[in-house]
Structures are given as C-alpha cells and as structure tokens.
C-alpha cells in the first residue's frame, strides 16, 4: 500500500477521490465539479446507443486527461456484468472495470454471489476488476483471492447520502487486509462522511450523488477533495485513543487558591 499515492492495477493517482458522471444538471456543472474535485479517474456507464436519433459521445464532455473507469452499473446477473465489461473494454481499450452486480432495485445492494462469480471470470480474462460489494470482510477476502485489483465496499446504499453506516466493518477490513486497496464506494453524503471513510483507513473514496446533487456541485467537490486529504492525513497521523472520561490538558499543579 502506497502511503502517498493511490495505486490501482499499476496505475498511480495522486488524488484519492474517484467520481461519477451521472445526475449532473448539465455538462458545464459536471466539468466544473470534476475540475474542482482534483479527481483523476471518473466512472461511466455502458448503455445501448439510441438508434432513432444521432447522439454525441458523452465521453467528449469529459476532460481528456481523466482516466475513465467503465462500470457495469445496472446489471443484475454475473452474465450481464461480464458482457458489459467485455463491451467496455472493446470500446475504450482499457482493462479497468468497476464491477457492479445489483441484487435488488429498492436498496441497490450488491448481489455478492453474482459479483464474485463475475469477478472470477473477468480476472481470468485479464481485467483489472474493482468490485462494489457489501462491507463484509469475508467477501473482501474472497474477492481478493479471486484476484481483484482493489475492493470497493459500500458505506451506505447507493445515492442515499447516509454516510458510513458501519465504521467497525471498514476498520476491521483495513486492519485485517493491510495490503489491499480499499475504495469506499457509495453512500457518502457530505464532506465529513468522506473524511470518516479515510480516517478508517480507506485508500480512496468513490462518489457521485453527493457531488452531483449538491446545490453547488463544484463547491461540494472542493469540500470532498479537502475532506479526503484531511481524513488521509488523520489516518496516517494515528488518532488518539478514545476515553470515556476527561483527561486534563493543562497541568493540575499550581492552580491559584
């Protein structure tokens, strides 16, 4: 694990923030937010081309310097996710894929079983797989054993903005998997949520809605950038232990009587 940079499948990023490209009110707002975030990697989804009208390429609206991370968002089976990943590799000539296999429309929770099955197939085919999964240590180990390049546990349901719901699980994952690249994905709502994920030892955070649905996305993107830097520094600094009772900071001797 690099202390300074985020390393994923041999690629080095100085920003530990990865952001989405959905839900923005317009392209200008998206670009401003991307610029402000300092993120070097963005996720995009794969969809059918509309045949009834000419369409411009969405990718033309992205800063060409950004690393594109295609995702399998919206897939409900391992088979669909594998096909989507193969199509994205063909179109973009990239082996990176953010693997999402959803199990339920209401919660958008991942189907861990299908995710693992798809991960095994894609790793064999040479993909650098970044799977979205429940914040579960055992699943994390299975995904790493399958050869995933990084793992992406959720903080809370996608788009919920609830923040890290189970900090203990993320902390345990960090402590038990010190060499894994852990990117907290989904559920961040505001800057403190991102900072908490980083303080718990995440190597990075992926978010979309928290920035896109903010009243001022560029301002929120800046806040997220700073929060992630602050959280990372706090993690590296090693926080003080929590105590139930007070511990005076000032000397107890010499108080006037």
């Amino acid at each position: 694990m690099s202390r300074k940079n985020l390393v994923i499948a041999g690629r080095t990023f100085s920003s530990r923030l990865i952001i989405g490209t959905g839900k923005y009110r317009n392209y200008d707002e998206m670009r401003s937010a991307h610029d402000a975030s300092g993120a070097e990697m963005v996720t995009v989804a794969v969809r059918r081309v509309p045949l009834d009208r000419s369409t411009e390429s969405f990718l033309d609206h992205l800063n060409p310097a950004l690393q594109i991370l295609p995702n399998t968002a919206g897939c409900y089976t391992a088979d669909d996710a594998v096909r989507t990943a193969r199509l994205s590799r063909e179109a973009l000539q990239t082996d990176l894929v953010k693997l999402e296999v959803i199990g339920d429309q209401t919660t958008l929770f991942p189907d861990n079983e299908q995710t693992l099955e798809a991960a095994r197939i894609l790793v064999k085919e040479g993909f650098a797989v970044l799977p979205y999964f429940n914040d579960d240590l055992i699943m994390a180990k299975k995904l790493l054993d399958a050869g995933c390049a990084a793992i992406m546990p959720l903080a809370a349901p996608i788009g919920s903005g609830l923040g890290v719901q189970n900090p203990a699980n993320l902390r345990i994952m960090r402590e038990q998997l010190p060499d894994a690249t852990i990117i907290v994905d989904a559920g961040v709502g505001t800057a403190s949520d991102a900072a908490i994920a980083m303080e718990l030892g995440a190597d990075g955070v992926l978010m979309n809605t928290a920035i896109a649905e903010a009243e001022d996305p560029a301002k929120m993107a800046t806040a997220m950038k700073l929060a992630i830097e602050a959280g990372r520094l706090a993690y590296l600094a090693g926080r003080m232990p929590k105590r139930l009772y007070a511990s005076a900071s000032s000397p107890l001797q010499g108080v006037i009587k």
Partner: protein, 76 residues
C-alpha cells in the same frame, strides 16, 4: 432478412456486413462496441462479419453514471 438491433426488429436487404449495418445506422464508429449473439465483435472484424437472419446485435456507448438503474437482462 430480419435482425434485432438493441432489441428492435429490423428488416434489412441483402446480406450486409456488420460494418455496413453500422454505417447505415449512421452511428459514430468511435467509442462504441458491438455484440452479435452475445459475443463481442472487435472493430477490425466488423467488415468481415456477415449478418445472418435472426442475429441479435447490441450496440453500446457510454453515458453518465454512477448508477443508472434501468438496465438488466431485458435490456442488454
């Protein structure tokens, strides 16, 4: 003959190649990817891939997301 492009049935004349179909659909060839009967056909093979009656063709591109919830077995 009849083929299915992104789930839509299409009657086409003759036996065109995949490259000809994509040209006829007036799609930008850059940054799209194509599957015929669930197998990716690499760009360099479009011209050599002759379509057959009943072929199911998927042509995809990239959109903004994060999560875009309306895709599943029926769609792709």
């Amino acid at each position: 003959m009849r083929v299915y492009v992104n789930g839509e049935s299409r009657e086409i004349q003759g036996t065109p190649s995949l490259a000809e179909l994509i040209a006829e659909l007036d799609l930008p060839a850059a940054r799209i990817a194509v599957e015929v009967n669930r197998e990716v056909v690499r760009r360099g093979e479009w011209v050599n891939t002759m379509l057959r009656d009943g072929d199911k063709i998927e042509i995809v591109h990239f959109v903004g997301g994060g999560f875009v919830p309306f895709c599943g077995s029926d769609n792709i």
